[in-house]
Symmetry: D2
Subunit: 131 residues, 4 copies
Amino acid sequence: MRFELATRYGDYDTKGHVNNAVFLTYFEMARARAWIEALEGNADFPFILAEATVQYRSQARIGDPLEIEITTTEVRTKAWVWSYVIRDPRDGRVVAEGRTVQVAYDYEGHRTIPIPADIAAKLLDWLGEHI
Amino acid sequence: MRFELATRYGDYDTKGHVNNAVFLTYFEMARARAWIEALEGNADFPFILAEATVQYRSQARIGDPLEIEITTTEVRTKAWVWSYVIRDPRDGRVVAEGRTVQVAYDYEGHRTIPIPADIAAKLLDWLGEHI
Amino acid sequence: MRFELATRYGDYDTKGHVNNAVFLTYFEMARARAWIEALEGNADFPFILAEATVQYRSQARIGDPLEIEITTTEVRTKAWVWSYVIRDPRDGRVVAEGRTVQVAYDYEGHRTIPIPADIAAKLLDWLGEHI
Amino acid sequence: MRFELATRYGDYDTKGHVNNAVFLTYFEMARARAWIEALEGNADFPFILAEATVQYRSQARIGDPLEIEITTTEVRTKAWVWSYVIRDPRDGRVVAEGRTVQVAYDYEGHRTIPIPADIAAKLLDWLGEHI
């Protein structure tokens, strides 16, 4: 899944580059769309975020258009891993890459659980359509 | 009530000035402290924000220390008005001023109400100690 | 000029409503588009922000689509005033309104100036096309 | 180096937890202080951020005090690695951990360089005083 990022003036720092923390917000924007699309609008995802990583490859300057691609490169019994690439679509230059690890969670029992079968099926269906 | 603002690198825009929207966050930081102090830690304030105004007087540059002062200049039957001044404490230069109007609200009945007497008494007590 | 706002999860506060400070960011998003369109991509606007006001009319809850309309209701010799209305497009409900006052500024001379004639002409042309 | 984090209401999401992206801002707050202290106020650091990682260990709820500790666990010829731990100081519970990799950079030559000797000496001095 790939779409254009709607950047904001406040995203840029004093050097005119996207601030490093904002990339996790961009990842979150992509993830929210993917969850909603894959789980058909059910916004109550039984996952907690366990880890996030960003690799900064090149500067995103004010005025540069940005595009994000989200996919899944790894699925574990208890965890779903989203991967992200942010590019300048004019030349394909990679601005940042990263991944976030989401662990299935039982909010009532306060413990991690295997990804529920129906959720896993929907996510894998979605993934199949986007490869 | 007056205290030093803990600014963040992300508050500054591409020109090295505090972004205009961040001043409402600074006001909110002051208001949160004042509510908590006046209402003795009860964080469930029966108010909704009705209006906010910011006047930008001079630039806050990265590295400039900032101090905020919050006070009340107007109390109405249904509304409590907070006023704010942000200064550079080195020379007293005013960076921004503003006010926010909070209206007492019955969240269950979904309607504005007069400020409850016990809340008003606590706020006025607090105000008396800070003039 | 009217367009859909791309909201972000981080815009919402603990009550599930758009945080009050974020509305100034929404205004800024509209203003940036309008400046760029009116001044034909010249992003070096000789204006400084002098004042901003937001009136909060109803809550914007997570999942509510939001649309912003920007127009000009007042032009002074030295100042250009943008006005904003944010609505839920499903029923036209007004979520917030406001205005920002921009003053023409000579960055080299460090003083306010009358709006330069060529800039004023372009802004008024744009305005004529959007009424 | 360890200090209390000044959180903001806008840091919290709809579940009342610190939003995941904000942790990179907390890391940045710690890093900025450490750089300034180590390099004696010289804010022009010849580094670019290459990578950031956050591990989310437990929830930071609104009202929870938060403390951050920053240290260095790895120094390479061209890179300086900051490590961070965020805790609730009431019981030492770890909320988040992470690290950021900064690479020395020649902004004029647009290339990575070994950490300049004088910068490295100051950083190592600072590190020695904080272990």
